[in-house]
């Protein structure tokens, strides 16, 4: 960064900056509340976990939610117990609370996050544009075991990725790791065969369509439920596969999008790395 300063001055400066930052953080940590009580109960997450946001909103509309000192009465909102496998027609049906926040309560964040990844992939293609794949001069014949092995492994990995994002609302995982798993399967194909290249146009179409599907799901919510990215499907019994309304749809779109995007990034980076 600083080109003219000698090495030693730079190191001392760096240690100084890092030291100030860390001392500041530790001074702050001593002030953070850490008692015996889990402090989730003082945050908005309490209602996400109890799936009771509607109730809390009604209290807020009546003006009883914030008291005179502006401390929200987060412990006073009554709750209905949720039993796994029995409670049904909740406001949000996902058993995995993190998923319900990511896709439902704060779904707009996730739309932005998908966009960030999409832009990064587009940026990689913009920056690396104009590179041609060089035909390798001496072809190393791929080992038969490697070739067959990666193809079998790809099938397994692909199915596992799909499993991960379809069950995103029940088990840990979801669209992003699912897509990344599929992309790593495709990475395996690159290793298994020299000169392998996925269908680039197909990846682009897939990527665009799944991204558009996400936004269109949002617009269906706007038309049907009067609010962008609102859930328009019924929520079944918590813990069932078909229980979380539109969460599964969105996670399928995200999974396909992330998978094709990361494959496209890998492809763009790997072009030209064959030996020359």
């Amino acid at each position: 960064m600083m080109s003219d300063t000698p090495e030693m001055v730079k190191k001392v400066f760096a240690i100084f900056v890092v030291g100030i930052l860390i001392i500041g953080f530790f001074m702050v940590f001593t002030q953070m509340p850490k008692g015996n009580e889990v402090n989730v109960n003082n945050t908005v997450s309490r209602f996400y976990v109890m799936k009771d946001v509607d109730h809390a909103t009604q209290m807020l509309d009546k003006g009883t939610y914030f008291n005179k000192d502006m401390v929200p009465l987060r412990n006073d909102v009554p709750y209905t117990p949720i039993t796994f496998g029995k409670s049904s027609n909740l406001e949000d049906g996902a058993a995995n609370v993190v998923t319900s926040i990511v896709v439902d309560y704060r779904g707009f964040d996730t739309l932005g996050e998908v966009t960030v990844l999409f832009l990064a992939a587009s940026g990689v293609m913009l920056v690396l544009h104009g590179e041609k794949r060089k035909i390798p001069k001496k072809k190393i014949a791929p080992s038969e075991i490697m070739y067959v092995g990666t193809r079998i492994a790809f099938a397994v990995i692909f199915l596992f990725g799909i499993y991960v994002f379809i069950h995103g609302h029940l088990t840990p995982g979801g669209g992003f790791p699912g897509g990344a798993i599929i992309a790593s399967g495709i990475l395996g194909l690159f290793l298994g065969r020299q000169g392998y290249s996925p269908n680039k146009a197909g990846l682009t179409v897939f990527e665009s369509l799944s991204g558009m599907a996400y936004v269109i799901i949002g617009i269906i919510g706007l038309v049907g439920e009067k609010s962008f990215l609102a859930n328009f499907l019924p929520t079944g019994t918590i813990g069932d596969l078909f229980s979380a309304g539109f969460i599964a749809l969105i996670y399928i779109a995200i999974g396909m999008k992330v998978g094709s995007e990361l494959s496209a990034v890998t492809n763009a980076m790997i072009v030209d790395t064959e030996e020359d």
Binding site: F25, K34, V40, Y79, E113, V116, L117
Partner: protein, 124 residues
Amino acid sequence: MVDFLQNWVYLTGAMALVGIGLYIVLTNTNIFRIIVGLNIIDSGTNLFIVTIAWHPKSVMPIYTATNNLVVNGHVISADPLPQSLVLTAIVIGLGTTALALAIAVKIYQKYGTLDVRKIKEGDR
């Protein structure tokens, strides 16, 4: 008491990672190493965020047949909101890394070096 200390262990680890990453970014001139530093800062940030969402007595925020998140009207799971923010931060970190690497590769092709100082000299 041990549980309380445990929180500090994680926080110390997170801050150490952020410090190490920042040190790498500030002192190195090799572009790839700077990107390594940015990645380590990201890991430290994520660890920090997940740590402040956690409490020694908490359970994971997923309803299963045996895992009940609300006991006596009190939520006992780890805070799911920061966890969902971390998911976002991880994906954004990957995007930044990929773009930075693409720019670095292009820089190497155009300048023939990865050293920040030599790139500056090349521009003059």
